[in-house]
């Protein structure tokens, strides 16, 4: 269970997170929606400890990540994987080396076993074996996302954070990525946080949906509950009436 309690964060005096309270149940996919620039990625970076809050707690199984430093933080991070918005694949490494990277750095597995696992993951992401020896700049946006997902999954983490997993992809590729998230989740039952603003596609993968607006969670529930939510800001966002939210 991940619990976020009264999380505050400001940049240059401007409050981005203004008292976030949120729970992400173990083994479930929680989706945080909200318009661009509302602080969804900032929230995600607090969970993994890349940013320190001005105030508040991020509890993972009762341990406050915001208080961890050094080796303890590193140990906590071994339980995580993150799928970054642009994939964050290492430019200097080919696809195989990118996916193998966490295993080579954090395990003592023999190369043969690493190769087997990498090819298994690439296959799971519907990536052909020839892709393994391409470099990130030779891949399309959708392929990059799938390679990044393969890298995120390679160590079978307990928790995966998805930062805008389908931003910039065409609708068929977005559906493919969401399908792969569903498929890998069904196989591994990891706890997931997806931050996204792609509606209604995100409802396909969500067990729970939270809406972030002006630094606070203004709605939380199942996808059906969110779709029926009475708050006009939620309805306006779902219907795409984004101008209403500019107040």
């Amino acid at each position: 269970m991940i619990r976020i309690i009264d999380l505050h964060k400001s940049f240059n005096g401007q409050a981005v997170l203004d008292g976030i309270h949120l729970e992400m149940p173990t083994g479930k996919i929680t989706v945080v929606i909200g318009k661009s620039g509302v602080g969804k990625s900032v929230l995600l970076k607090h969970i993994i400890g890349l940013l320190k809050p001005d105030k508040g707690q991020v509890l993972i199984d009762g341990v406050d990540v915001t208080q961890l430093r050094g080796r303890k933080l590193q140990e906590m991070r071994r339980r995580f994987a993150v799928l970054f918005q642009g994939g964050a694949l290492f430019d200097s490494l080919n696809v195989f080396e990118n996916v193998a990277f966490p295993l080579r750095e954090k395990t003592s597995l023999p190369e043969g076993e690493i190769a087997r696992r990498v090819h298994e993951r690439l296959d799971q992401m519907n990536l052909s074996p020839e892709v393994a020896y391409k470099f990130p700049d030779e891949l399309s946006g959708g392929m990059k996302k799938r390679v990044a997902l393969a890298r995120a999954m390679i160590q079978e983490p307990e928790i995966i954070l998805f930062d805008e997993p389908v931003t910039g992809l065409d609708p068929p590729m977005s559906n493919t990525v969401f399908h792969l998230i569903n498929k890998t989740h069904a196989a591994s039952s990891y706890t997931a946080l997806v931050v996204a603003h792609d509606l209604p596609e995100v409802f396909q993968v969500a067990d729970y949906v939270a809406m972030l607006h002006q630094g606070r969670i203004i709605a939380y529930g199942s996808p059906e509950e969110i779709q029926q939510h009475q708050d006009p800001k939620v309805q306006s966002f779902i219907k795409g009436e984004v101008d209403f939210l500019e107040d």
Binding site: I48, Q74, R77, V82, F84, A88, L89, F90, P102, E105
Partner: protein, 256 residues
């Protein structure tokens, strides 16, 4: 007036703060060289990037510098009938000053800018964050091997510069202008003392570390996308060149 003094004070404070955080960055990077896991392959990759790939530009610069030194030296020394001292004049100029400084400036322009751009792009595309989330310290994985590579590669490049520069001077002084080969080398052997060579080595070590520290720091703290990378790269070349020249004066005053 008050406004001007306030701005000047703020600028000075920022400058001191940045110098301090750069020094801490350097110390942290070097300290991580003693912390496992050790990645010798990464170090070799960086020596290749910073050292081997700078060899051609260093060779060219060295050859022409030696040739110009010999040409200028010959016509100056000839006025006093001391053409025989050409070898020692070329060697001392190269070993004490020109070799370390010009090598450092070339490495700064070629490898320093490349290091900043590489790390800067890693920053803005979240590759450094990705390392962090994989429990791999980006300072240890990315920065530390570059600092060590700077320490190793720049003195070696300086040695190459000195040798090639002396040979360039030989080509012009001996082959083209007719100075005797024996006096060119014997004057050199008599006049170059260990202190000259040690001074050159110390300078090249300090310059190598300075260039890569500035380049890595600027790249690591890049902000604001592609424009930020461009600005950081520019700052690296300018700042490292100025620091090399400032260090040169300080170190020369120690080794005189």
């Amino acid at each position: 007036m008050v406004h001007f003094i306030r701005r000047l004070g703020r600028w000075l404070l920022n400058w001191v703060q940045e110098a301090g955080s750069m020094l801490l960055f350097l110390l942290q990077g070097l300290a991580l060289a003693f912390v496992p896991p050790f990645r010798p392959r990464r170090l070799l990759q960086e020596i290749n990037l910073i050292g081997v790939k700078s060899t051609l530009i260093v060779l060219l610069t060295a050859a022409f510098t030696g040739m110009v030194l010999a040409l200028q030296g010959y016509y100056t020394l000839r006025k006093y009938g001391s053409e025989g001292a050409l070898g020692s004049a070329v060697a001392l100029s190269l070993i004490r000053e020109m070799g370390p400084v010009l090598t450092a400036l070339m490495v700064s322009a070629r490898a320093g800018s490349a290091v900043t751009a590489e790390i800067g792009i890693m920053r803005i595309t979240e590759q450094l964050d990705a390392l962090d989330t994989m429990a791999v310290n980006p300072m240890q994985y990315v920065v530390m091997p570059k600092l060590l590579a700077g320490l190793i590669a720049v003195p070696l490049l300086t040695a190459i510069f000195d040798v090639v520069g002396i040979l360039g001077g030989y080509l012009v002084g001996v082959v083209l202008l007719g100075v005797s080969s024996g006096s060119y080398f014997s004057g050199m052997v008599q006049s170059v003392v260990p202190l000259d060579i040690n001074g050159g080595i110390v300078k090249s070590l300090v310059f190598g570390l300075t260039i890569i520290m500035v380049a890595s720091y600027k790249g690591y703290h890049t902000e604001h996308g592609a424009e930020g990378v461009s600005r950081a790269t520019n700052q690296t070349v300018v700042l490292s060149a100025v620091l090399v020249l400032a260090w040169d004066y300080i170190l020369t005053s120690f080794f005189m």
